[in-house]
Symmetry: C2
Subunit: 263 residues, 2 copies
Amino acid sequence: MIEFADKSPAEIRSLIRRNELTRPTAGMAKGFTQANLAILKKELAFDFLLFCQRNPKPCPVLDVTEPGSPIPQLIAPGADIRTDIPKYRIYRHGELVEEVTDILNYWEDDMVAFLIGCSFTFEHPLMNNGIPVRHIEENCNVAMYKTNIPCIKAGRFEGPVVVSMRPIPEKDVVRAVQVTSRFPSVHGAPIHIGNPAHIGIKNINKPDFGDAVTIKDGEVPVFWACGVTPQAAAMQVKPELMITHAPGHMLITDVRDEQFGVL
Amino acid sequence: MIEFADKSPAEIRSLIRRNELTRPTAGMAKGFTQANLAILKKELAFDFLLFCQRNPKPCPVLDVTEPGSPIPQLIAPGADIRTDIPKYRIYRHGELVEEVTDILNYWEDDMVAFLIGCSFTFEHPLMNNGIPVRHIEENCNVAMYKTNIPCIKAGRFEGPVVVSMRPIPEKDVVRAVQVTSRFPSVHGAPIHIGNPAHIGIKNINKPDFGDAVTIKDGEVPVFWACGVTPQAAAMQVKPELMITHAPGHMLITDVRDEQFGVL
């Protein structure tokens, strides 16, 4: 994948658009933010945007397309949301029915695409601070868990906050809070440090999504709000049609990670 | 007004609800955030929320009520948006038609109230840092100007960014940027420092809204995005019915200013 680390977002999106690239996007266009995708019909869009507005830590909205427009004007004005993601998932009434490499045949005039921040954006800053990121070391997906923390409801959308977990050496926990606090638009500071049971996680070795990772002696599990939260909430509504990216197959934006840093 | 500085938000809202208090709210319930109000019908709510999401510096959304519900659950769950603001303005097709002390007779089941952050929240932190706030010293309204900076359009909503200006001693400008950067949900860092002409302001002594203030020798005009922006954008759409607070007559929330501080 290293061959794509130094390519520009536009170059990679062009390869994806021509179906010459259909792999997960981790590591591609290093330094540029990648975004989660959720597409809903206009009739659900206000409630979903409100849900995100009320729950900004798990649902940091980076961009919302104009109804019917496939162009994410703010974060990738040269992109087409219907073709520039390597793999999509089509859900009907909350059930996964198909994985496809473009959604030209599914796109309708009343569709609204939500691009949502992803904690990948703060993982390079963590590593640049000498803080290990275990799932990158172990070359697997981040461990994600449903918690007993409810999101604030909006219209028909509700559900628990989903978190991602990274084991952090005790001596680095304060710095990890500081570094990730700088990135509120990609989940920001952790929402919990330490005992998984306190947020309703029964078995840290059995994540609800992604892969379990090693927690070494002297490391503390640290939990960040996760972008799976809004997708899970949307799924519970069982919308007639909903389209998301396939896990790990993200939109590569034109915005540099550091542009989301505050202070 | 000092008699209300130490009262709780709930106590003051109760006086307002009984029409025993109909004055501007500046200085009341010291340390608690005050919010701007804009009420629109549901049919315009998605586009307006999207406009705010795309323009977070001038339009920092603190809370949005569920359609038809007058309760701002996030920032003042004990408040009723129809009675707890000292003075309201009723606009029909973009024209001011009436000022009233409650809106019980105007409220409809499809109305959505937007509570938007206000730069008053960061004025105490500025003063606590020894930085003068001129319009408080001169006991007048802050000076506000239309700029030549366009907001990002959303649906029918568009318009220029409106800014508030505070003259800051040259030696304090860096600190003023730092202090206000901590408060992104109430406009955050300035958007311009120095020459007014560079953002399209022709005469600094003739503000478009509010009052002109003295700029002393050695002071630099510093410009922050202003909550008048979304009201002005909404007015241009000439909605059938729109309700706002009367200038200076704000919703006093249960959230402390410092709770909006990051880091």
